[in-house]
């Protein structure tokens, strides 16, 4: 009790990318943000149940999650997962009939900190990057500009747009549970994203803002390198990039 914010990493970050949640925690700490984690009490947000059409299980899980979060009385829930973000902001109100808590995606928090002058970057970066719009953040939640504003605020970082970006962005292949259900197809979509959309840009790194995209694009990079001899692109979550380049 008492912490203003609750950091909700979500299952993908928490179970498959623990280093990302550590980065995120570190960044929050450096920003002087008073936050806490649910740690062992953490649940799935239920988004996979929505994607399965299992609305019955989802509704009952959502009630539990709202209780769990409300008990902490946070000013806002911060998550770096666009799936959780969409689920909390779109499906919770739809199924529960009310807004239960305030949710912020990590990109909003970071951008606000930049605007408030709380985040300063080293001047030493020299990085040519592209940004991959996660479906759940972009098309499904309408957040296209905030991550781009962060990237263009970092000195020495050059943002190169893909031809297929924003609402035209090709999915990384990890959406709709495909990564878990038809993984070969899922990875192949990532390979095409790398080979067709990213490789021609000659960038050093691919930045995204979603743990599922991160995992799928990383798989895509290694396979595309193997088959098409494309570059061994570094795939970074925007949280990682920011944390790396912070003053």
């Amino acid at each position: 009790m008492g912490s203003r914010f609750l950091y909700w990493p979500g299952c993908t970050t928490s179970y498959l990318l623990p280093e990302l949640s550590e980065r995120m925690g570190g960044l929050l700490g450096r920003l002087g943000i008073d936050f806490k984690l649910l740690s062992g009490k953490e649940r799935c947000c239920g988004y996979p149940l929505v994607l399965l059409g299992d609305y019955e299980s989802f509704s009952s899980l959502a009630v539990d999650v709202v209780d769990l979060i409300s008990a902490e009385e946070p000013e806002a829930v911060i998550t770096n997962c666009p799936g959780c973000y969409r689920c909390f902001t779109e499906f919770y109100p739809r199924f529960l009939g009310r807004n239960s808590f305030k949710v912020m995606h990590s990109t909003r928090l970071i951008y606000d900190a930049i605007k408030d002058g709380k985040l300063r970057f080293r001047n030493s970066a020299k990085l040519r990057i592209t940004y991959h719009d996660p479906c759940d953040l972009g098309r499904h939640s309408g957040i296209y500009d905030v991550p781009r504003n962060i990237l263009t605020s970092i000195p020495g970082v050059e943002l190169v747009e893909m031809e297929r970006s924003r609402e035209s962005a090709r999915c990384c292949g990890g959406g709709g549970l495909l990564r878990l259900s038809i993984s070969q197809l899922s990875t192949q979509i990532a390979v095409t994203r790398i080979k067709d959309d990213i490789a021609p840009l000659n960038v050093d790194a691919i930045v995204t803002a979603c743990p599922t995209c991160l995992k799928n694009l990383r798989d895509g990079v290694s396979i595309s390198k193997l088959i098409y001899d494309t570059k061994d692109f570094n795939v970074l979550d925007i949280v990682e990039l920011v944390d790396m380049l912070i003053e």
Partner: protein, 429 residues
């Protein structure tokens, strides 16, 4: 329930390893993207057109009963026949009877997805009728005994080289992989068929109720021949194609075209209003001059009314069949539409299939969607396909058609608090 999903996944793997498909879809995806974007840049009123098109479709679906009545009255007053087919069997039976009545031995067809939906060709061929598809893409897949892989580009899963191979086999001579030469062959081989055919069957892109006019959009000229040369024309389409006026139908045609092919206007839009006629001799009305003497319009319901009455899926009936959602879909880009379909392919195809052919046929299509929303972003009618996919998955779950592998995800969430099935030691607080 898992077995079908496992074998379906094996089919996906085979398609991912299909070299011809991979090359064909890579070429298609780039060409289409450029063509559509450049067309839209040259259509300053596109957004007005498509928003108006949505209003027209929404209104038409609400008033479909009266619009269908108007179409029937108009077609009949023109000397044509109108038949509302409740289901696929009724449509096939009616069309078969018309063919029987004329002792038809040769039928030429222009492109029609509804005739695919009702499996018309198979039924006519069974009766000993020669059925020739005259749209180039349809003719190619007919030669290969395949089904269309895209509603606009039926043979888009094939490369020029592969089509040359198919032609070489069919003709028994070596045909070079040259699009121009392949087109010439189709022209030579099909020309006489139009003349000899007893019946021409076409689809319809839009139908205007106020005059009973059918709009047939095409580039090749085969639909003009098919609907004009034989003495009988049967137009087969879905009931959802009807809009109030000729102007509405033209506007919808203008929305279909850039999204379908990246053109500002198609080469041909045929407006067909009844059988051909003359009154040149003493103003005596005589049917059947150079065009068909006999004209039938067959509109198929086959699950459509049910879809329109279902608030979750009603908007799927706004679909104008431009195919933009397929052409831009990242899943389609990898596996195409042969395995990702029963008759209708992709995300919107899953919804259509659920109503035209039932939930079981729709299940594999629905569970292959990435729910990424690219289709919704590109759809001129703003149909919320990803949302409908989720609602369809809900019905599939209730019908026991969800693959076990996906049920396991749900179980993992319930039992282990994560979708991956990872067992984690609970940290002591």
């Amino acid at each position: 329930m898992s077995s079908w999903f496992e074998s379906y996944k094996e089919e996906i793997t085979r398609e991912l390893e299909n070299e011809v498909l991979r090359v064909a879809l890579e070429r298609f995806s780039k060409t289409y993207w450029n063509a559509r974007n450049s067309a839209l840049r040259r259509l300053p009123y596109y957004n007005y057109y498509r928003k108006r098109a949505r209003e027209i479709k929404a209104w038409s679906i609400e008033h479909l009963g009266e619009l269908l009545k108007m179409v029937k009255e108009n077609v009949e007053s023109l000397g044509g026949s109108f038949y509302l087919a409740r289901n696929a069997d009724a449509a096939v039976e009616y069309i078969s009877k018309v063919c029987d009545g004329r002792n038809a031995r040769l039928v030429v067809k222009s492109k029609s997805m509804v005739t695919e939906e009702i499996s018309l060709n198979e039924a006519l061929i069974k009766k000993g009728i020669e059925v020739v598809e005259t749209d180039l893409g349809e003719w190619i897949i007919q030669l290969r005994n395949e089904k269309p892989s895209h509603i606009i580009y039926p043979a888009i899963h094939l490369t020029t080289e592969e089509i040359a191979h198919t032609f070489s086999k069919a003709l028994g001579s070596n045909v070079p992989a040259d699009a121009l030469k392949l087109v010439r062959i189709a022209r030579e081989r099909l020309r006489q068929k139009f003349v000899d055919a007893d019946v021409g069957i076409s689809g319809a892109n839009v139908i205007a109720a106020d005059t009973g006019t059918v709009f047939v959009i095409e580039n090749e000229g085969n639909a003009r021949f098919s609907t004009n040369a034989p003495s009988v024309h049967i137009c087969v389409s879905g009931i959802e194609k009807v809009v109030p006026t000729v102007e509405d139908a033209l506007l919808i045609s203008r929305v279909i075209t850039p999204n379908a092919t990246g053109q500002l206007m198609p080469v041909y839009i045929s407006l067909i209003t009844g059988p051909s006629r003359t009154a040149d001799i003493e103003l005596k009305l005589t049917l059947g001059v150079h065009g068909p003497k006999e004209y039938h319009m067959v509109l198929v319901d086959n699950g459509r009314s049910k879809m329109m009455k279902d608030s979750d899926f009603k908007e799927a009936s706004y679909c104008i069949r431009c195919g933009a959602c397929l052409s831009e879909c990242p899943v389609y880009r990898e596996i195409g539409g042969i395995i990702w379909s029963y008759k209708y392919m992709g995300g919107i195809g899953a919804i259509w299939t659920a109503f035209t052919h039932g939930l079981e046929k729709a299940a594999p299509i629905a569970f292959t969607c990435a729910v990424c929303g690219r289709c919704k972003a590109v759809c001129p009618m703003e149909i919320n396909i990803p949302e409908m996919i989720l609602k369809l998955r809900e019905r599939l779950l209730k019908a026991g058609l969800t693959p076990q592998q996906l049920i396991n995800i749900s179980n993992n969430i319930r039992n282990l608090n994560n979708p991956f099935g990872i067992i984690r030691e609970v940290e002591k607080a």
